[in-house]
């Protein structure tokens, strides 16, 4: 609510904008040769939903995960203050509030608040069974995915269009050169990157914002699984909202509460698992009857908190859904083009579902070529949002190991450059029907030239072939030496054949499980 003001509101908004600015600054700083991973990963490691779900799925404890305790402790003391004060998605929803177009009193029934709690149950039930797919809907991964795959590439394109105009005006030459040499490498992608599903991720985030038309902070009230998890912890929160005896029932607090949890029917009490501690009611109350005071007891279960039956249903549904997912195609017969980041195949027995991946998107963000992309259907539904290499869009740079260094949960192992250079992430195969020397008998050899291996995984065979006129011509035919190919994909990326490349990287050789 914009109308309410006062020292608490100014304080809260300062913290909110600062936290959002830090989140975006860390996002910008996450790049190859960017900030240290320990700093870059702070937002992800603060996220208790992501960290605890990963712990349940991987059964490995990582020292950096202890940072999540900070947010859990914060919640135990102040309730869902994360949502009201720190969460970058919450702040963005506040900034892009659609209050002006929202119909009054059109909020969905309180019963829908259970969705976020059900999501928490499902996420943890699935995590215990080794599946982290629904972390796709963790607010931080959603935001990072949107920034990486749509907002930043779009920004890059806009800056590029402006520069294309300005470069023709002589007076801008100096400033442009300064921008390109000092700021561009620090802010924008070094080379243009393309994300095939960027529009989908942008639409999901736009949908989150548009839901504000139905109710303020719709996402936080009804859907956010992190909000749900913190909401349950808030049942134990020490500081709770109390309404004084001199309340005259003016309903101002009910009207302004961004999560609509102040109930006139219950003497204007609120549910600590819904309250984001935004302090709007404190500042707005004309009689100063709103206080936040310590209390040491657990808050009662509400109507919309899932009961035993509902929880069992959610768990049962999760087990059944996972059973169906695991019995379908991709689980056994993986896509021939399923290429995971370097080292993943060696360290994940289940590289298809990629169960250790929290979908946080950091690896995709730091990949300098834009080759790593969030999967949608390519690896099966269970692998939604996990990183796959799309060599036609970008290759695995021979001098880069950024993805493993940045991964906050070591789902991509933190290999040094020498170790990373020998990881076999795929194998290249030549399509002789499309290859220029093979089918057109013209010289090409780009793939051989690009191959980064010192011993060259592509070798040339000098051959005499017949052209369509029956003349003998001599050509050099490329062959892939698959015993040394590492599947980096630069050959596929650079192949000059239009459309589908004449050399494609397939999945590496794996032990067939059937």
């Amino acid at each position: 609510m914009g109308q309410v003001t006062g020292p608490w509101i100014i304080f809260r908004k300062t913290v909110q904008y600062l936290a959002l600015a830090i989140f975006i600054a860390l996002f910008v700083w996450s790049r190859q040769d960017g900030g240290p991973a320990t700093l870059i990963n702070i937002p992800m490691r603060l996220d208790p939903l992501l960290i605890l779900a990963h712990l349940a799925a991987s059964r490995t404890f990582l020292a950096g995960s202890t940072l999540a305790l900070v947010v859990i402790l914060l919640t135990v003391v102040f309730g869902r203050a994360w949502c009201g004060w720190l969460c970058p998605v919450g702040t963005i929803l506040d900034i892009f509030s659609l209050k002006r177009w929202r119909k009054k009193r059109a909020s969905p029934a309180d019963g829908w608040r259970r969705v976020k709690f059900d999501l928490v149950i499902i996420i943890f039930a699935a995590a215990l069974l080794g599946n982290l797919t629904l972390l796709f809907f963790d607010p931080l991964t959603l935001l990072l995915r949107t920034l990486t795959t749509s907002v930043w590439p779009a920004l890059d394109r806009i800056v590029l269009s402006i520069e294309t105009v300005l470069v023709k005006v002589p007076i801008f030459e100096g400033p442009l050169a300064t921008f390109d040499n000092l700021f561009r490498p620090a802010i924008l992608p070094v080379q243009p990157v393309f994300y095939r599903d960027g529009i989908l991720f942008a639409a999901i985030f736009l949908g989150m914002i548009l839901l504000d038309l139905l109710a303020e902070r719709f996402w936080c009230r009804y859907l956010c699984p992190l909000g749900g998890a913190l909401g349950w912890v808030s049942k134990l929160a020490i500081f709770r909202r109390k309404v004084g005896t001199e309340c005259k029932g003016c309903t101002i607090c009910t009207d302004i509460c961004p999560t609509g949890t102040i109930d006139p029917a219950k003497n204007y009490a609120s549910d600590p698992s819904e309250c984001t501690m935004c302090m709007d009611c404190l500042e707005a109350c004309p009689r100063n009857q709103t206080r936040f005071l310590p209390e040491f007891s657990a808050e009662k279960w509400t109507d919309y908190d899932p009961g035993r039956r509902e929880a069992l249903l959610a768990i049962g549904g999760t087990v059944l859904t996972l059973a169906i997912l695991n019995s379908n195609g991709p689980a056994k017969r993986q896509s021939p083009f399923l290429i995971r980041p370097p080292g993943v195949r060696e360290t994940n027995p289940d590289a298809v579902d990629f169960t250790k991946c929290t979908r946080c998107n950091e690896c995709i963000r730091v990949c300098p070529t834009g080759g790593l992309q969030p999967a949608v259907f390519e690896a099966g539904l269970a692998a939604l949002g996990s990183p796959i290499l799309a060599p036609r869009l970008g290759y695995c740079d021979y001098s880069c190991n950024a993805c493993g260094q940045v991964c906050p949960v070591q789902a991509i192992p933190p290999l040094n450059l020498e170790e990373k250079r020998v990881q076999v992430i795929g194998l290249a195969y030549i399509n002789e029907n499309r290859c220029i020397p093979w089918s057109d008998h013209q010289p090409c050899l780009v793939c051989e030239e690009m191959c980064p291996l010192p011993q060259k995984a592509i070798q040339l065979e000098k051959a005499e072939v017949w052209d369509p006129d029956g003349q003998t011509v001599s050509v050099q035919l490329p062959h892939v030496l698959r015993e040394i190919c590492i599947g980096c994909g630069i050959c596929e990326y650079k192949c000059p054949v239009s459309g589908e490349a004449a050399i494609r990287v397939h999945m590496p050789k794996v032990d067939v499980p059937f």
């Binding site: 023709k168 021979y398 001098s399 980064p452």
Partner: protein, 352 residues
């Protein structure tokens, strides 16, 4: 800051859309850019005078592949020293090799007028290896040239290449070139898409139109600093091939690679070519990555004529100019000379 009103938003949006349209229009106008003056190597060459250097083609170790060092003594005073077509320096530190080679061609001031904007174009093709692997030009060779340009009074010296493996900034750092160029006061330019200008190549046979980097087109002086190395699709990559780094799309040219190289060299005419043969890569090129592919030659070949420099550099690999299609094509297009037997080649052994 005040609230963004609808009017403000529409204004901003209209301005943005206008800018994009304008950009498209300007693009369509096709900015015509002047190219550098054509090569005038006739004044420097002395045709007919046979070189004292013998052109043997052994394949052995250091310095064997080149003409033997002979003419190091200064000419008698009183008679003007003829400026050779090609200056070769051998056996010394990179800086001394470069300085002596350029001095023999008349000194850096003969190429770089005071106040000139200079582009130095090394070969920084990948971000994979340090300079020891000889995939990228020797950093001290590049740094020395930048220093010399400033000594001659250059207004600016920009150094750039467009790597195909890894990003520009990464390659600049790993190759060691960035450090030496910055130490010399030069500027490393990160080559960005919008700087490439559609350019017609009037004398071209195949590559009649391509996108060329504007700084390279507009430079007062272009200094070409290739490394001499093996390259599987063009046999060797030397000075002419190095200029492929100035254009946007390269992969689709490979079925007419040699003609395209020659065509591009009819457009871009470096005033000075300095072939870095301090360390050369004899196989596994252009990327390399194995020190056994590298031979230390401690040699620099400098010429006003890129074709002549390349022609002589072939002997480092035990080859002849005719072995490279692009040299043959460029010679027949009149872009330079490859008749080594008729060229004045001065070879200097520094640490004799």
């Amino acid at each position: 800051m005040g609230k963004l009103t609808r009017r403000d938003f529409l204004k901003a949006a209209a301005a943005g859309a206008g800018a994009m349209t304008l950009s498209a229009l300007l693009e369509a106008c096709g900015k015509v850019l002047p190219t550098s003056a054509p090569l005038t190597n006739s004044e420097a060459s002395s045709p007919g005078k046979p070189t004292k250097a013998s052109l043997s083609h052994p394949t052995g170790a250091a310095t064997e592949g080149l003409p033997s060092a002979t003419d190091t003594s200064p000419a008698p005073t009183g008679t003007p020293v003829p400026i050779p077509d090609i200056a070769v320096t051998m056996g010394g530190e990179p800086e001394a090799l470069v300085r002596q080679a350029v001095a023999t061609l008349g000194g850096i001031s003969a190429f770089v007028p005071s106040g000139a904007n200079v582009v130095v174009k090394p070969n920084i093709c990948v971000a994979y290896h340090t300079y020891e692997y000889a995939a990228t030009t020797n950093p001290w060779v590049v740094g020395t040239l930048v220093k010399m340009c400033y000594e001659a009074g250059a207004a600016s010296v920009k150094v750039m290449d467009h790597p195909f493996g890894g990003t520009g900034p990464e390659a600049y750092k790993i190759s060691g070139i960035e450090e030496q160029v910055k130490a010399a006061g030069g500027e490393m330019v990160n080559m960005i898409q919008y700087h490439y200008v559609d350019t017609k190549i009037p004398d071209a046979v195949y590559l009649k139109k391509t996108k060329v980097y504007d700084d390279i087109l507009n430079a007062d002086v272009l200094i070409n600093v290739p490394i001499a190395k093996n390259h599987d699709s063009s046999v060797l990559t030397l000075g002419m091939k190095n200029l492929m780094g100035a254009i946007w799309i390269r992969e689709t040219l490979h079925n007419s690679l040699h003609q395209s190289i020659a065509d591009l060299n009819s457009l871009l005419k470096p005033q000075l070519t300095v072939v870095d043969a301090v360390r050369i890569m004899t196989r596994g090129g252009p990327t390399g990555g194995n020190l056994s592919y590298v031979q230390q030659k401690d040699t620099v070949i400098a010429s006003r004529d890129v074709v002549a420099a390349d022609s002589l550099a072939t002997s480092l690999f035990g080859m002849k100019p005719e072995d490279l299609d692009y040299i043959r094509i460029a010679t027949s297009m009149g872009l330079g000379r490859s008749d080594l037997q008729n060229l004045n080649i001065q070879v200097m052994q520094l640490n004799a």
